[in-house]
Amino acid sequence: MTKEYKTIREIAGPLIFVEKTEPVGYGELVHITLTDGSRKRGQVLDTSSNVVVVQVFEGTGGLNSECGVRFTGETIKLPVSGEMLGRILSGSGEPLDGGPGIIPDDKLDITGAAINPYARLPPKDFIQTGISTIDGMNTLVRGQKLPIFSGSGLPHNEIALQIARQAKVRGQGEEFAVVFAAMGITNEEAQYFMRDFERTGALERAVVFLNLADDPAVERLITPRLALTAAEYFAYEHEMHVLVILTDFTNYCEALRQMGAAREEVPGRRGYPGYMYTDLASLYERAGVVRGRKGSVTQFPILSMPGDDITHPIPDLSGYITEGQIVISRELHRKGIYPPINVLPSLSRLMNSGIGAGRTRDDHKAVSDQLYAGYAEGRDLRGLVAIVGKDALSDRDKKLLEFADMFEDRFVRQGVDEDRDIERTLDLGWELLSELPEALLTRIDNKYIQKYHPAHREKEEEKAVAPAAG
């Protein structure tokens, strides 16, 4: 039993300052016993021979200098076991579902060590999500971290769930699991996820960590770390392909800012701590594939952009770390288009290694590039039309304008349960492109135009049919 100190000298926000006697390790887990006997947990943020600074996960409400503080001599660990699948845990890892405590196979440090870059295998297995704007133009691969950048009131949860339901690596029946971590979302939102997991049976293959809006903010700082530790455990010990949904990173970052303010740190941009990039990286980088290990960790974080501003530090720093982003657009949402994904600011950086002959289809890159170019130009023209009217446009521009509308209506729009395979998505792309004059298809090699363009395809087919008829 370690020694109990009753030497809290100061309490400031979520922090307590303990004067102590024996040396305490940086990052140690701390147990605090309140005068009414209840317990809280914390972590050492700064330690010196005079004073130790502890952040208290459940908040410092009810604490005073009478409380007992015990330093455990250990860093924070998550008890893990294969039995965790199907369980619902709190944001600090305690069972919430009335089930028994987890009997651990192992206890893992939640900080997680960095994967040696030399041990990484470049992710390349195409994950078909069934959503055209993702599969066709922002392809997701196993081991990638691809966040959804959204805004309040936009259907990011629906999209995340649709992906969780439909995602598959084709031709492979490998074991998969879902880890879901809620950080400061409302009870209603959490219920929405849980109901869908239950409806589809996904819950059996899931571990859920819930830190809700009314749970302590500081706890949010460990919730994703617990979730990722569980994900790594299933990926690397149980050889599963794990999809991690983390929502909402904005709440996580707010908690980080609150901590920084409590510690009176010099704030960085817009009040967020200067180390937020490093902190976020320590989470996002825990996705990947490790050479010689069968499982993988794929991350699907969700964050809402304050004021729909993509240059806000939260989406900005995230975008600098993740391997692309799927951007949800309020404008498309208003037009009644689901899923309202704006492909232009969206990006999957690992797309190129996941697509092409043998993976998806040889024309994939070219079709995607051409759709991008056409849609971007068409959208720009909308602005112009508003000023000069449609008649002032050249024929070329008129075509592009129509193309942009068609693209949104037929390619972007799809049903909540509509699961399009990649061939369907690419063919749909060709159908739209064939509405443009062929001379505008400068991004596509002629050989693909010959092979896939509906006009030529029909000719090919006619040719194939003709001899039989004659």
Binding site: A114, R120, G324, S394
Partner: protein, 577 residues
């Protein structure tokens, strides 16, 4: 002398009871974690620790090695991949598994590998710092020149020949100084050179917008700032792949693990266009990803530039890519704020500007101490928050570098790659290279290039009018200008890094492409003047073919064909009238 830890706050540890100098390397705590003294306050020293400090306690022992943070220089650097403090990542993998744990030290150079040493001096020769005493064939095309460490000199008493490990003596000078194939050098101290020269030749990169419009010099400096996802890393990797340079030092500083894995995967497969050998054979990689310790990230840039200087001292042209210098600056900021230093702009330490310019100053074309010429080209990626170039790292960098490749989110969004903005970017070397381009590419080159830039500028002006009246309201000659400018952008400037042919473009190909587009424009202009309607001009097949000629494997043949067809088509247009 042993002291003890007084305080631990993340990567910053305060120690007492031990005498230190700035930048001494100290071993911290029971596990002997490596750290570096970055501040001294009274009898306490402040140490940045290169490894994770979780669980480290006050009272644990501290030992000063008395040495500065140094790298090991010698054969075996090429093909290596190191962390920020030169620990070989493959070795860390065998020592501690797939994940990076702490408390493991590892030599930068392998002590067991033997290298064939061929002396180039003989007994009685006088040598001094920087002199070459022998060579080692490090990879098939790179001859590693063994140098006398700066500051050492004497006459050769004994010189050996044959197979040695890097720590065996290969040469003894009078007075008994023993030289090995390895030397150590403190990373924060530039290696000396005989003389700095003016850079005068372009670094050819095979990237049209760079070589064609905004070239960087061998020995020059360039910055490539841009918001996330705009193409910094892809551009840096393209430079690492295709530049006509002898040695590449690539620093992944605080960026993604998967990107480094990608490089590691690709570089052994790709061929150096100059030698046909695997690219890895001329490359040193430094990977201190964003989730690896932040103090080692701070050091990674110095580790990289010191290795670059070492190859320069052998007389090589070295290119160094640092992706991203912003992460380096942020590492400085993180450490500085733990030290509770007075912050400057946006929380960065007041010495940010000084550190940046000291770093870029280590680039340059030089006469080496041995009398050869070598160069270091430094290309730094900058990641401005929110893509806003007015922030301190971008601004301080732009005050130093000579070439600015401005990435543009708008271009990236419409998949115009490389998303380098042709209106905002600049190179201060262009004039200095006119002669070189005139001689080595074509006497016409400079005019073609200037015309292209003018055309793009004209386009930007016309676009403003189009925004008010629509393009159909413009007179036909202006409509044509817009069309030719579009050709220039799409056919010439756009270059797909992932296309097997287009990824690299020789100067010869650049010249022919630029010339063909320009001449299409000229003929179209004359046709218009003589009354041919613009839509007939734009419908020509040769225009359409020009769009894709850059993808052709047999480019010369293809462009000959197109040029001939173009002659033909314009002739017919005139006749038809």
């Amino acid at each position: 002398m042993k002291g003890e830890i007084f305080r631990v706050s993340g990567p910053v540890v305060t120690v007492s009871g031990v005498k230190t100098r700035m930048y001494d390397v100290v071993k911290v705590g029971n596990e002997g974690l490596m750290g570096e003294v970055i501040g001294i306050e009274g009898e306490k020293s402040i140490v940045q620790v290169y490894e994770d400090t979780n669980g480290v306690k006050p009272g644990e022992p501290v030992e000063n090695t008395g040495l500065s943070l140094s790298v090991e220089l010698g054969p075996g650097l090429l093909k290596s991949i190191y962390d920020g403090i030169q620990r070989p990542l493959p070795l860390l993998l065998t020592k501690m598994g797939d994940f990076i744990r702490r408390g493991v030290s590892a030599n930068g150079l392998d002590r067991t590998q033997q290298w064939e040493f061929k002396p180039t001096v003989k007994k009685g020769d006088t040598v001094s710092g920087g002199s070459i005493i022998g060579t080692v064939q490090e990879t098939q095309n790179i001859e590693h020149r063994i140098l006398v460490p700066p500051g050492v000199s004497g006459t050769v008493e004994e010189i050996k020949k044959g197979k040695f490990t890097v720590d065996q003596t290969v040469c003894v000078l009078n007075g008994g100084t023993e030289l090995t194939m390895m030397q150590k050098w403190p990373v924060r101290k530039p290696r000396p050179v005989a003389k700095k020269l003016m850079p005068s030749t372009p670094l050819l990169t095979g990237q049209r917008i760079l070589d064609g419009l905004f070239p960087v010099a061998k020995g020059g400096t360039a910055a490539i700032p841009g918001p996330f996802g705009s193409g910094k890393t892809v551009t840096q990797q393209q430079l690492a792949k295709w530049s006509d340079t002898d040695i590449v030092v690539y620093i992944g500083c605080g960026e993604r693990g998967n990107e480094m894995a990608d490089v590691l995967n690709e570089f052994p497969e790709l061929e150096d266009p100059k030698t046909g050998r695997p690219l890895m054979e001329r490359t040193v990689l430094i990977a201190n990803t964003s989730n690896m310790p932040v103090a080692a990230r701070e050091a990674s840039v110095y580790t990289g530039i010191t290795i670059a200087e070492y190859y320069r001292d052998m007389g090589y042209d070295v290119s160094l890519m640092a992706d991203s210098t912003s992460r380096w600056a942020e590492a400085m900021r993180e450490i500085s704020s733990r030290l509770e230093e007075m912050p400057g702009e946006e929380g960065y330490p007041a010495y940010l500007a000084a550190r940046l310019s000291e770093f870029y100053e280590r680039a340059g074309k030089t006469n080496t101490l041995a009398g050869n010429q070598g160069s270091i080209t430094v290309i730094g990626a900058v990641s401005p928050p929110g893509g806003d170039f007015s922030e301190p790292v971008t601004q301080n960098t732009l005050r130093i570098v000579k070439v600015f490749w401005a990435l543009d989110a708008k271009l990236a969004q419409r998949r115009h790659f490389p998303a380098i903005n042709w209106l905002n970017s600049y190179s201060l070397y262009t004039k200095a290279f006119s002669e070189w381009y005139g001689k080595n590419v074509s006497p016409e080159w400079e005019k073609l290039r200037d015309d292209a830039i003018n055309l793009l500028q004209r386009e930007a002006e016309l676009q403003e009018i189009v925004q008010l009246v629509g393009s159909d309201a413009l007179p036909e000659d202006q409509q044509l200008t817009l069309e030719i400018a579009r050709m220039m952008r799409e056919y010439f400037l756009q270059q797909n890094a992932y296309h097997e042919v287009d990824t690299y473009c020789s100067m010869h190909k650049q010249y022919r492409l630029l010339k063909a587009i320009t001449s299409f424009g000229d003929r179209a202009g004359s046709a218009l003047e003589s009354g041919v309607p613009i839509k007939d001009v734009l419908a020509l097949k040769s225009k359409n073919d020009l769009a894709k000629v850059k993808f052709e494997r047999e480019f010369d043949k293809a462009i000959d064909g197109i040029t001939a067809q173009m002659d033909d088509e314009f002739k017919k247009l005139q006749e038809a009238k």
